[in-house]
Symmetry: C2
Subunit: 502 residues, 2 copies
């Protein structure tokens, strides 16, 4: 059979509305009416069993939204209560529109997320993803109740997004004129995401990972594409960093921040700050000259001053900074206290971050990096492995607890959630879905529901497996090319595909 | 842009024929006329460059086939000569139809394969693949000049193929009534493959990996689905092996071999023989009883006798046996001398096989296994990794030489080639293409061209990368969802994405 091709629904489901149901909730109601009544999905458990029969008559669903506030941020109330009687009309009640965006299953459910930040990072610089593919990803995120798309939009390899301030960035930096995101594309994606209860947080990664800026503005750069020994200057080719000895790079960055905080309306803005390489600057003629003329300064103080001027500018625009953990732990700079720190290098960084009084989003590479385990990608590296080997299975992802080793309730509150991360060196639109799903759904569940069930017991992957299979086949039925987790035999025989003694 | 969506061809290409061009060659000519004139592909190198211009006028291609022999086996002559002048008509001359099946690029080419057996193994038991997906895989194989589809058609988890002798096998063993291969499907696939110069060799893996037989005939089995300690009895769940103490299992197997050597016309037939587990039999009541009644016999002698009766039967049907290396190296049985041994456990097994006088096909897990590196798939194995970690990159696959450490010319001749292998525990139709391609193309090239160029120099992956990128994007343009190897930046900047000093 074509996976998920048989149709199990018996009669059309109607969804009607009470309260504030224009805008986001109205869009969700129309969308799910269409989806529920047209989707083709049958559980792999049922392929041999025929169509399931209803025990009563379902008279449709009435949706009630209690507030017309459509602001989408860390404070948004996503809770809901769902009641489905044996016969008659069900009810779905939510404080805001974002509580009704997500479809769920019957009976009585009172639900609210454990963490507000349930994210997925995509990288559109190493390889380009069309708007349609990002929309499909937002659809899949909504099916998994995720709340944040972290859009790592530019990096060293390409600059796909339009800039009205510096049009040369896209002109010289996009892979082609078609592999781009216009202002209209970005606005469309933000609205599309908002209608699904998802915020889009953009990342403009500075001052490292910026080679592509030099294709338009070489005068702003240090250590451009050093070959063959790029590894002394960058984590991967091509090398290139904004030249922190030049005030023009602060001006350039701040103009971009001004422009893009206008385009990307979210109140959080990611400034990157990962994998900054000191050699790149230590050998730069302008940096050498500057340091010679300024005794007492060094690369660290230069960088700290550079960060300060950029982060201060972001604060002046009433935006909250979001940065990779190096900005906090591997520089002498002290970010503003409201900065959100995305930890990735070390699982312990989360507890260290909140102990310092900062808020943290957990993206530990050893658990949450979706691209790991795919081998080396440098053309001549015959025996090279993935830098973050091995592959992170959905069980590994599910096992991570962002609150591990954090006991202080105030510190716990500063853990905002987690983000599954995909870097796209070995991924493009052709294989994206399988790289993301269903593994990101494991992160979605643990960040929505927390690690423990209502009785305080830690959920095991063994018990999760069946519903994640179901969710995977459901996603496939909805056009998301999620990868299979096991042979169908295992799907059909829960508990028969475990390792003894684990 | 949609990958490979721009169309670079200028005018329709005509292909005409001389000699024996009915049947296979005629089909190939029609197919390639259509493909060449309708495909949408542009090299990623050219996305910003516009359409390439022709320097002369190409007057079409004349294809000549010198023999009407359409037999497809290890002896088939696949050589061809291609000439494309600057202006006028090109010529493609081949000894048999199978020399013209594969499209190639211009100028003067005299070409013939280094190895006759250039294979890909797919596994349709762990998860099912529709006929359409297998056809797409055969298309992709033909684009890469591969000559053998090794169809691992049944295994422990499901029995998708029709049997007229034992209809209960499919009835009880297929995942669903739709997830099956009828006789008509198999015949259709064999013809489809033949038209592309590809043989289909089926594998019916006995006596291990046969749990699913017990869903129809439990009386034939030992150690059926032992839980939770399946690991004592099998390499993966569910456990279950044909009971070698029962003559009925020989009769059963030989009837199947008779039936399927009729359906699968190839003169080679794979009998499996991998990962046979002795504990399964040592604890079986029938085996215990039999051995008690037959002093001097043990499990090894029982197994050896069992193999003997099955392999002798296959020989009596004028078929060549094909077996995993355990049959030769990890049992006391001595297979017939014409048996082809597929090595997978140890790279040294190839030289050992040919030193023993047997022919060998190389499938070393450490190089050629396409499923490795995808993590554990047992539901509760949070910290488990892939049994054959790490992931095998295309560079790793390319680096393998089936002739390594074999110096004797007669022994070299007994190395028939190589097979890339995909086991499908974590793969189904949704993600198949990306698991196979472009990595299997690396094996295709080394088995077609050998490890060395015309000057005797070993080709490096660095120099191969550009043409493999091109081939990957070409496959995507033809509807094969092959995975990307690198960021497009690396595709565009050959030599800039290498590891220093490798």
């Amino acid at each position: 059979m074509e996976l998920g091709s048989s149709n199990t629904h018996v009669a059309d489901v109607t969804i009607s509305a009470k309260g504030y149901v224009a805008g986001v909730a109205g869009d969700a109601i129309s969308r799910y009416m269409l989806l529920i009544n047209s989707e083709h999905f049958s559980s792999p458990l049922d392929w041999n069993k025929g169509v399931a029969k209803a025990s009563g008559h379902f008279g449709g669903l009435v949706v009630s939204v209690l507030s017309n506030n459509e602001t989408l941020d860390l404070e948004t109330d996503e809770s809901y209560t769902l009641d489905i009687p044996v016969n008659g009309t069900g009810s779905l009640t939510a404080k805001t529109s974002y509580g009704v965006v997500i479809r769920n299953t019957p009976i009585h459910i009172e639900d609210a997320p454990f963490f507000p930040h349930r994210g997925l990072q995509v990288d559109t610089s190493r390889n380009y993803f069309p708007v349609s593919v990002l929309k499909r990803t937002l659809d899949a995120m909504s099916y998994n109740k995720m709340s944040v798309l972290h859009w790592h939009i530019v990096d060293a390899q390409s600059w796909p997004v339009e800039s009205k301030t510096f049009p040369e960035l896209q002109k010289n930096g996009a892979y082609s004129a078609k592999e781009t995101y216009s202002y209209a594309d970005v606005k469309d994606l933000i609205q599309y995401a908002k209608n699904r209860g998802i915020r889009i947080i953009p990342e403009f990664d500075v001052p490292g990972h910026t080679y592509i800026v030099g294709e338009a503005y070489p005068e702003l750069m240090s250590c451009m594409d050093v070959q063959p020994n790029w590894d002394k200057y960058a984590a991967e080719p091509p090398s290139g960093q904004l030249n922190i000895a030049k005030p023009e790079t602060i001006e350039f960055t701040n103009k971009l921040v001004t422009e893009y905080t206008g385009l990307f309306v979210d109140n959080v803005f990611h400034l990157g700050g990962d994998e900054v390489n000191r050699n790149c600057w230590k050998e730069d003629p302008d940096v050498i000259k500057y340091l010679a003329a300024h005794p007492g300064e060094d690369v660290e103080s230069l960088l700290s001053g550079w960060y300060s001027k950029v982060h201060d500018h972001l604060e002046s625009l009433n935006r909250t900074g979001y940065s990779w953990e190096e900005t906090l732990f591997h520089s002498t700079y002290t970010p503003p206290k409201d900065t959100i720190i995305q930890t990735w290098i070390d699982e312990q960084s989360i507890s260290k971050t909140v102990a310092k009084g900062y808020r943290s989003v957990a993206s530990p590479a050893a658990y949450y990096y979706l691209d790991c385990g795919h081998g080396a990608w440098l053309s001549n590296w015959v025996n090279g492995n993935s830098w973050c080997d091995p592959f992170k299975t959905w069980m590994k992802m599910y096992s991570f607890d962002p609150l591990a080793n954090i006991t202080d309730p105030e510190e716990q509150k500063r853990v905002l959630g987690g983000e599954a991360v995909l870097w796209a060196e070995q991924t493009d639109e052709v294989v994206l879905d399988g790289r993301l799903w269903p593994r990101a759904a494991a992160v979605a569940e643990t960040t929505w529901s927390g690690k423990r069930d209502a009785n305080g017991r830690v959920r095991t992957t063994e018990e999760v497996a069946s519903r994640l299979h179901e969710q995977r086949f459901r996603m496939v039925g909805r056009g998301i090319a999620a990868e299979p987790m096991q042979p169908v035999w295992c799907v059909r025989n829960p508990g028969h595909c475990n390792v003894p003694g684990a």
